[in-house]
Amino acid sequence: MIEQSALSELAGIVGKENLLTTPEDLACYGFDATPRLGGRPDAVAKPGSTQEVSKILQLANRAGFKVVPRGAGTNLSGGSVPIAGGLVMQMNRLNRILEIDSENLTALVEPGVVTSDLHAAVEAIGLFYPPDPGSMTVSTMGGNVAENAGGLRGLKYGVTRDYVMGLEVVLPSGDVITTGGKTVKNVTGYDLTRLMVGSEGTLGVITKILVRLIPKPETKKTMLVYYRTLGDAAETVSSIIAHRVIPPTLEFLDNVTVRCVEQYIHAGLPQDMEAILLIEVDGPASVVEEDAAKVVDVCRQHNAAEIQVSRSAEDSLRLAAGRRAALPALARIKPTMVLEDATVPRSQVAAMVRRVQQIAERHGLLIGTFGHAGDGNLHPTIVCDERDHDEMERVERAVDEIFHAALELGGTLSGEHGIGLSKAPFMTLEMKDAGMKAMVAIKRALDPNNILNPGKMYLDQFTQSHEPMGGVLGPRS
C-alpha cells in the first residue's frame, strides 16, 4: 500500500498527469510478457527526469513502498511484475537519443529509447548497434540493459553487456552515480557498469546509457540448410567456427518447430528433416563471398540434405521467413506459451535438444525447440493451456528438468531472458550458497530497505540452500 500522503507527494514530483491510479490503469501494469505471472501495483508513475527518479526513490525509502522499474514490459522472466504491489515506474517518457558521437563511435541515450529506433538512427549514418532482442521494435534500451538482453546476432557481436560503456544510475538511496565513460580503456574503481548491466532493476534505476557503436557491415548473405539428423546439424555449427568463420546468425529449428511453422506459413519446408539451420554471414562483399563458400562446403561435408543460398536482399528475407515464423507458429497452437532460454556450451547443443525431446515425450507435452545454435542459447518452447491444471503441472516438471539438464551440460539457467521471478527458485542450483551470499551482500549494501524490485532473483528470500521452492512459474495471476 502507498499512503494517500505519499501519493500526493508523488503527484507533486511527476505531475498529476503522469501518476496513474485508476483500477483500469492498474490492470494494465500488473504483468509483462511472462505467462501466468501477475501482480497489481498501487500506482504507476512516469518520471520525466533523473531528479524525479531520485526524489521518488527517496520518498519510497521514507514512506516504505516498493518501486518496480519498467520499460516496455516485454520481459520473459517476470522482472517487471509488481509482485509485492507498490509503484511501477515506467521510464518511457525519458526517450531521447541525446548524442551520436561518430568520432568516438558512441551513442548516449535515455532509457526509454526503443531499441529499433536507435538501430535506425545509427544505421542512417553508417553505424551499427548490434544487440537485436526479439522484441526490439518495442523494447526499451533501459530494459535491455537491466536484463542484459541478447538477440540473434550474439555469436559474432555479443550481447547488450558488450556495448554498454557507461551509465547514469539512480541508486536506491536516491544518489545519482555515473559509471564508465567514452574511453575504451578505463580501470578506475570497481566496474560498476557491469554490475548494473543485468541487475534486473534490483540495484538501481538506469537514467542514461552510453553505448559503443561499430561500423555497419557492408553486406550479408543468408543460407538455409536442411539436415536429416540432428547430429549433422550440430556438427556443422561447431565445424563452421572451427573453419574460422563467425556468422552473426546461426539459428536452429528442430523438427517439431519446422512442422508447426509449415502448418502456419505453408512455405514448402520439408517435414521429414530433423533440423534446419539458418546461417548469415556479413562483412565486406569479398569476405562475405568467401565465408559463404566456406559455410556451404562445411554444410556439404556434414551431409546437408539441401542448401539454399540468397542472391538478393529479398531472397534473404524469404529464407529467414521460417525462422521468423517460429514464435507465431507455436503461439497459435494453444493459448499459453512457456518460452525458456536455457543455454549450453555450443558443443552440447545436440545433446541439449535431445534431452528436451525426451522431456517432452516423458511428460506428454508439445515442445518446439529453436534458437541461437551458434551461442548455445536455445528456446525450448512449451505450448500449453493455462486452464488445464494437469497439463500445467507437467509443464512445471518439464521446466524443472530442462533447467537441470542445462546445468548438467555445463550451461546456465538463462542465456538472455533473465531470472526475475520465474527462475528465482532455481538460483541456488547455479549460484550455490557462496554466490548467493555475495549477491545478497551487494543488494543489502545498496538497498538496505529492499525498496527496488522486490522478489526478483531470490535475493530477499535467500537464507541458505535448499531444494527449489514452490512452483516454477511462481504465484499465479
Binding site: K46, N92, N95, S139, A331
Partner: protein, 433 residues
C-alpha cells in the same frame, strides 16, 4: 467458450461477447505496442492493445467494472487494426474492443444522441442528408468565415470549434440525387457493376464518386446505383450498436440481391470492409447467412476491380509528384494496397513516391477526430510530417474520412498539397481523352 457462459464471467452477455479464448490467446508479448498509434503517442499501457485486452479480460473475470473509465478506454482505440497485423498469436485486439463496445451498449444507458444518429439517421439517407444542412449553411452563409476570424469558434466547448472545421466544403446536393440509376458503359458493355454509394462519399465527396462512376463506364462497365441503399453499418458497429448495424446490413443485402451484376463495387474503404464483413456479421443468422456470404463474396473496392481488368490506356498526362496514404479499412481491412498504387503509376506524368509509414493510421478513424481531438491531431501530425518529407504535390487515398482528415492536416500544417481519391486522379487523366 463464450465468456458469458463461464461462471463468474457475468460482465459480458452472450450477444456479441468476446470469446474468452480470444482474450486468453494474448501472450502479452507487447509486439502490438510498437504499431499502436495511441500507445506511440502516449506511451501508456492503458492506451495499448495489450492493455485493452487486459482490461477486457479483467472485466470478464469480474475484476473490473464496466465503469466510466472502462468505457472511456474502450473508445480510445482507433480500430485501425495495426495490432492484429503484427500479433504472433493472431489476436484481433481491435475487434475484441468492438465486442466490448457492444457489451457496453447492451449494459449501460447510452446517450440520447447515439440513438438519434444510429437508429434515426443512418437507416434513412433522406434524414441523414437533412442533418447535413446546418453544416452546409454554416459553411456557405459566411458564418464559418466570420467565426474563424473572430475566434468565435474557440468559445465552443469540447473542441467543437475546431472539429467544425474538419469537413471539406459540402457540395450543394448529395450525389445520391444526381447519379442516374443506370449509367451506360462507354462503348461496348463488358461488365455490369452495382455501385455501393457510401453516405460520406455522397454527402462530402460527391465529385469523387461521380468520377468513380465515369472511370467505370469508361472501362466498359454499365453501372447500376440503387438510390435506396443505406449506411453500410460500420459506424453503428464501431459504437457497439450491433442491432442497428445488422439491420442495415440486411437491408443492403436485400437491395443488392435484386440487382443482376457481376460485382458490387464501392469507392469507400469503410463501406468496402463492412461489405466484406457482412458474412461474418450475419453468419449465425438463419435467414441471412447465405445471402450475406453471396453479398460479401461479390464485394470489391474500386481499385481492386480496376486493377483486375484490362484498362483503357488512352490517358492524358497529369504532371504531379504523388504519394499514397493507405486507409486502415483498405490495407488491413481488405488487404488492398498494391492496386491503388498500380493505378496511380499507370497515369503518365505521375511521379509516384512512397511516404514513410504509409499504412500508419491518420487519426481520422470515423469520428475519432471529433471525439478525441488532441490525440487525433498528434497522430495526424506524424502522418503529415511523413507526407511533407516526400515533397509530393498530391496525397491520394481511398477513404472519405482519411481524405477529410488529411485535408485538415494539410491546412493545419500549411502545406501546398492536394488531397484526392486515387480514382479521381485517374478520372482526371481520362478527362481530355
Amino acid at each position: 467458450m463464450r465468456m458469458a457462459e463461464r461462471d463468474g464471467h457475468k460482465a459480458f452477455a452472450p450477444k456479441r461477447a468476446p470469446s474468452y479464448d480470444d482474450v486468453l490467446n494474448c501472450i502479452r508479448c507487447g509486439l502490438c505496442l510498437s504499431v499502436c498509434p495511441t500507445y506511440r503517442e502516449t506511451g501508456t499501457e492503458t492506451n495499448s492493445p495489450r492493455g485493452r485486452v487486459a482490461m477486457i479480460r479483467a472485466a470478464a473475470e469480474g475484476k473490473l467494472e464496466l465503469s466510466r473509465n472502462f468505457v472511456d478506454h474502450m473508445y480510445r482505440c482507433l480500430n485501425c487494426g495495426a495490432c492484429a497485423a503484427v500479433c504472433p498469436s493472431g489476436v484481433e485486439a481491435h475487434e475484441i474492443v468492438i465486442d466490448a463496445r457492444v457489451e457496453i451498449d447492451n449494459k449501460l444507458p447510452q446517450p440520447a444522441i447515439k440513438k438519434w444518429v444510429f437508429e434515426g439517421l443512418l437507416p434513412s439517407p433522406a434524414r441523414l442528408e437533412a442533418a447535413a444542412w446546418p453544416l452546409r449553411l454554416f459553411q456557405r452563409s459566411g458564418l464559418q468565415w466570420l467565426a474563424e476570424r473572430t475566434g468565435l469558434l474557440n468559445m465552443l466547448p469540447y473542441n467543437l470549434g475546431k472539429t467544425a472545421q474538419l469537413p471539406p466544403k459540402l457540395p450543394m446536393s448529395p450525389l445520391r440525387h444526381r447519379l442516374p440509376e443506370v449509367t451506360p458503359a462507354r462503348g461496348e458493355r463488358r461488365y455490369r457493376v452495382a455501385f455501393f454509394l457510401g453516405c460520406a462519399q455522397s454527402l462530402l465527396f460527391a465529385e469523387s464518386s461521380a468520377a468513380t462512376v465515369r472511370v467505370l463506364a469508361r472501362n466498359g462497365a454499365e453501372v447500376v446505383t440503387p438510390r435506396d441503399s443505406v449506411c453500410c453499418g460500420m459506424p453503428a458497429m464501431a459504437y457497439g450498436d450491433l442491432d442497428t448495424a445488422l439491420r442495415l446490413a440486411r437491408r443492403n443485402i436485400d437491395i443488392f440481391e435484386r440487382i443482376d451484376a457481376d460485382v458490387i463495387v464501392t469507392d469507400c474503404a469503410t463501406c468496402g470492409e463492412s461489405g466484406k464483413q457482412y458474412r461474418e456479421w450475419l453468419k449465425h443468422d438463419p435467414v441471412y447467412s447465405e445471402k450475406a456470404e453471396a453479398y460479401s463474396s461479390r464485394f470489391m473496392d474500386i481499385s481492386e476491380f480496376l486493377a483486375g481488368i484490362p484498362l483503357d490506356d488512352r490517358l492524358s498526362e497529369v504532371k504531379a509528384r504523388v504519394t499514397y496514404h493507405d486507409p486502415c479499412h483498405l490495407v488491413r481491412g481488405q488487404g488492398v494496397s498494391s492496386q491503388p498504387r498500380k493505378l496511380l503509376q499507370m497515369i503518365p506524368g505521375v511521379d509516384f513516391v512512397e511516404m514513410k509509414e504509409a499504412n500508419w493510421c491518420c487519426g481520422g478513424a470515423g469520428t475519432y477526430a471529433m471525439t478525441h481531438y488532441e490525440t487525433s491531431m498528434k497522430i495526424l501530425d506524424r502522418k503529415m510530417a511523413n507526407a511533407a518529407e516526400t515533397d509530393a504535390e498530391v496525397i491520394a487515398s481511398g477513404c472519405p474520412v482519411c481524405q477529410m482528415q488529411l485535408g485538415y492536416g494539410v491546412r493545419r500544417a500549411g502545406l501546398e498539397m492536394q488531397v484526392t481519391h486515387a480514382i479521381a486522379l485517374l478520372d482526371r487523366a481520362y478527362r481530355d481523352r
